[in-house]
């Protein structure tokens, strides 16, 4: 368990050979999971990762009981069999018994997990090391002490196994890259083009089961579930293409391993848990700061549109007041309040004054010639649209202002021209006001 080993929390002790092996094992595991996870996330079957990593337990138990030894070969076979069986059961329940797909997943994996626990409790003699807690948390901290000889070097057994599974995943996905890609994005098309999406589905599920089992001992099921989902989901926020997405997910997986190891060692806590937390943290950063799909950039985009709308509303309002011919001009506070007030309105007004569309003398706002020209185009868009709505859609007069007010900001020169033609060069809007040239 985590605390059999006491790691001194100084920086030089962080990067000893054992520590490096732990990071390497975690990174290999994470990468193996992230690689197959990309396809789960894209096919919106992320929770199959969760389901399978629990459902393989009875397969493990049966293999363990039958072979009587803790040997990777039988365990793999048992896990793949259990994984494929649960995939089959989930689909069959959904298709033939019409259980909703989420419920069928939940029923199958919890049922199989319960069966696994009972089998382990009943079938495995006490004293044999098969700890269910290990299935959860893994024993990453202990991996450097169980080594095998590989090509003349002593490497941790867990590393050899997980690196092998990573290579296996990479080889199969690389060989069937095109097929997996198509079935990830359009399974129906893949089937019509002659490679069975359901065959690929079972192959993928077999890979997930193998990966889950290979990773169990080292990192525990919770990290497997996390690594199947979190790095691919993070990469999906950062990229719109499959190849970069796979690469980024591998990088995120490695970064999570390193980060989690450092934090876990410094804080002296469970490493697998800390790596999961690190990965979740990276996902959180991507949610906030991803350039295209992040929350911050989306907010910035929304803000810039809102700001433009407020500024254009201000300009159009000043124009309309000029148009009335009265000598009265709006004060800054009045104008701000009229477009909704608040900091956005003040910011918009400030911007207009700075760019020279509006002059502010004392408490009086006036359009400059440049501002008047811009405002004229807006008012023209507004009134053309109102006319169009009345003429071609037959909306009543009191229903056209609101939609025109919304859409005026998004009508460009070309569309104005088109509207003008559609309306046979009308020069009065439905309220009888002139449409400015």
């Amino acid at each position: 368990m985590a605390h059999a080993l006491i790691i001194a929390s100084t920086f030089s002790d962080l990067w000893n050979p054992n520590g490096l092996w732990i990071v390497a094992t975690a990174a290999a595991t994470n990468c193996a999971c992230a690689l197959v996870g990309c396809y789960l996330v894209l096919r919106r079957m992320s929770l199959m990762g969760d389901a399978l990593s629990h459902a393989v337990l009875p397969g493990l138990a049966v293999a363990f009981i039958l072979s009587g030894a803790y040997d990777i070969g039988p365990l793999m076979i048992g896990a793949v069999a259990a994984g494929l069986l649960s995939t089959f059961l989930i689909q069959t329940l959904h298709q033939y018994a019409r259980v909703p797909s989420d419920a069928s997943m939940g029923v199958v994996f919890t049922g199989l997990f319960a069966l696994g626990v009972v089998l382990i409790k009943k079938g495995i003699p006490p004293g044999v090391h098969f700890d269910i807690a290990c299935v959860y948390q893994g024993t990453l901290e202990l991996t450097p002490f169980d080594t095998v000889s590989l090509l003349g070097h002593e490497v941790p057994r867990a590393f050899a196994v997980t690196a092998g599974v990573f290579l296996l995943n990479a080889a199969i996905i690389g060989a069937l890259w095109k097929e997996f890609k198509l079935s990830a994005f359009d399974p129906a098309l893949a089937t019509t083009m002659g490679f069975s999406a359901s065959l690929l589905h079972y192959l993928l599920m077999a890979l997930v089961a193998i990966t889950a089992v290979a990773s169990f001992e080292a990192v525990g099921s919770i990290l497997v579930v996390a690594m199947l989902i979190i790095p691919p989901a993070t990469a999906h926020l950062l990229s719109d293409r499959l190849a970069p997405m796979v690469l980024i997910s591998l990088l995120v997986a490695i970064a999570a391993a390193i980060l989690g190891y450092i934090l876990g060692t410094l804080l002296n806590t469970n490493l697998a848990g800390m790596i999961t937390v690190a990965a979740a943290g990276l996902f959180g950063l991507a949610v906030l700061f991803a350039p295209q799909h992040g929350v911050v950039s989306a907010l910035a985009r929304n803000l810039s549109v809102s700001l433009r709308v407020v500024r254009e509303d201000l300009l159009a309002m000043l124009y309309r007041i000029e148009e009335l011919g009265s000598p009265r001009r709006l004060a800054a506070a009045e104008a701000s309040a009229a477009v909704g007030g608040g900091w956005l309105a003040r910011l918009g007004l400030g911007g207009l004054v700075r760019e020279g569309s509006v002059t502010r003398t004392g408490n009086r706002l006036d359009l400059t010639p440049a501002g008047r020209e811009a405002a004229r185009q807006l008012v023209r868009s507004h009134r053309l649209w109102e006319t169009y709505l009345v003429k071609h859609l037959g909306l009543p007069l009191d229903h056209v202002h609101e939609p025109a007010h919304r859409v005026e900001h998004f009508i460009g020169d070309q569309m104005r021209e088109q509207l003008q033609q559609e309306l046979d060069a009308a020069n009065k809007d439905p309220h009888g006001r002139e449409i400015p040239e």
């Binding site: 992320s46 989420d102 997943m105 319960a114 989902i229 800390m274």
Partner: protein, 431 residues
């Protein structure tokens, strides 16, 4: 306080939990949110640890409040991620589930290290479940939660029903679907968190899903569904605990529920697999019988109205079927008095002739219809008529007859069979 033995208390407690989980879980199943229970269960761990660190005791109430808070934070974050980013709901559930649980394991390892040995032993029961030490106060909490869930359901019965079955309609009718959804999920969250120390993190998801999914097999009615789910859940809990003398309790309870579920899948009337396979088989047999009769009619057609015997071999070459299937069909038809079988020779009885004429008539009417009104090519109609003729409702046939009769396309006597609109192949296979 109650004077019950421990095993009775555990049984009653599990039954209460199962009943409450069944009722609340029905909403999750109907709203396709079954795995939210799984997420909640995992996401509660950090809250449990923090609550333990703050209160220093492992009393159910304190830990449950911690669990509820961290579960609600997870649901909130999940909703925000789904709403604000392109990450889909399944991935968001998985991320919250594993991220929170990872955090929980980190906190647990910190607590285990700092606490005196044995002090935090109760916390790991949150992962694996440990019903053995049910206290009177736990029983009361469970009863209160069960009553609370029932009260919620009774108060919002109509609203929950609408939202469960037709969310979009409820929305369009102006119901506050967001709040109703949250209310249902809150019931699920409450039951999940109370149940955690009894059945454990993973198996709690099963307690939420199994009764609702089982009850759904038996009924299409909401009120029956809720009552059934409650009964099934309570039975699962009680029976599972009683069965688990030498087995781990949580898994045994879940396996009991899974057994009831599998039995329902198989034996439920209407929705059950056996009932569906049975009715499908009966349909298939009827279709095959009608095809057999039509083949006999077509083979007899040249010599009508005299009915001549047809040899088994001719029949076999006329219509594709495996010999034993055909033999069985002929036997069944003889049993029903539709044909007489003498040696290898099959002859239609008058009753059989009548049925055969009906089947042929339906077939050809549909063929004519397909050619006349749907513009199908003559060599395409035989097959499509084959597939559809058995399911045509009689009213449609009458309408078709009327239509053809008006156009003078039907033989003078309405009960006679019209001539085939295409060449009838009497030698080889026609279908």
């Amino acid at each position: 306080m109650t004077g019950l033995s421990l095993s009775d208390k555990v049984t009653i407690g599990s039954a209460l939990l199962g009943g409450a989980a069944g009722v609340a879980g029905s909403f999750a199943v109907l709203r396709r949110r079954s795995l939210v229970g799984d997420m909640l269960a995992h996401a509660s761990l950090p809250g449990v640890c923090i609550a333990y660190a703050i209160t220093g005791s492992r009393e159910l109430l304190g830990l449950s409040i911690g669990a509820l808070v961290s579960g609600l934070i997870a649901i909130g974050l999940m909703t925000l991620v789904v709403r604000w980013t392109r990450t889909k709901e399944d991935a968001a559930i998985g991320i919250m589930l594993s991220g929170f649980f990872g955090l929980g394991i980190v906190l647990l390892s910190v607590i285990t290290r700092s606490a005196a040995a044995g002090g935090s032993a109760g916390l790991s029961s949150y992962i694996f479940g440990e019903p053995g030490n049910m206290l009177d106060s736990d029983l009361l909490t469970l009863a209160a939660v069960g009553a609370g869930v029932l009260l919620l359901v009774v108060c919002f019965y109509k609203e929950f029903k609408l939202v469960s079955f037709d969310h979009e309609f409820a929305k369009s009718q102006g119901w506050p679907t967001l709040w109703l959804d949250l209310g249902m999920m809150a019931a699920v969250a409450l039951v999940t968190i109370i149940g955690l120390p009894i059945v454990g993190v993973i198996l709690m998801a099963a307690m939420i899903i199994l009764p609702g999914a089982t009850a759904r097999m038996w009924t299409n009615r909401f009120n029956v569904l809720l009552i059934l789910a409650g009964i099934i859940g309570a039975t699962t809990g009680a029976v599972g605990v009683r069965l688990s003398s030498s087995l781990p309790t949580g898994p045994t309870v879940v396996l009991t529920g899974a057994t009831i579920f599998v039995a329902s899948i198989l034996f439920a009337p209407e929705r059950g697999v056996i009932a569906r396979v049975w009715s499908e088989t009966r349909l298939r047999i009827r279709v095959a019988r009608e095809h057999l009769l039509r083949s006999l009619y077509e083979l007899n057609e040249p010599t009508l109205p005299r009915l001549t015997p047809t040899s088994f071999q001719t029949l076999l070459s006329h219509r594709y079927a495996t010999p034993w299937m055909l033999r069985w069909l002929v036997d069944r038809s003889e049993h029903r008095g539709l044909v007489t079988l003498r040696g290898d020779q099959i002859t239609l009885t008058p009753l059989g002739f009548r049925r055969a004429a009906e089947a042929t008539r339906t077939h050809r009417m549909w063929e004519i219809y397909m050619m006349e009104f749907a513009g199908s090519a003559p060599d395409h109609v035989d097959r499509s008529a084959d597939a559809v003729e058995h399911l045509l409702p009689e009213s449609l046939l009458v309408e078709l007859e009327d239509r053809l009769a008006r156009e003078g396309r039907l033989p003078a006597i309405a009960t006679e069979v019209p001539a085939s609109p295409h060449e009838v192949n009497t030698e080889g296979n026609t279908s």
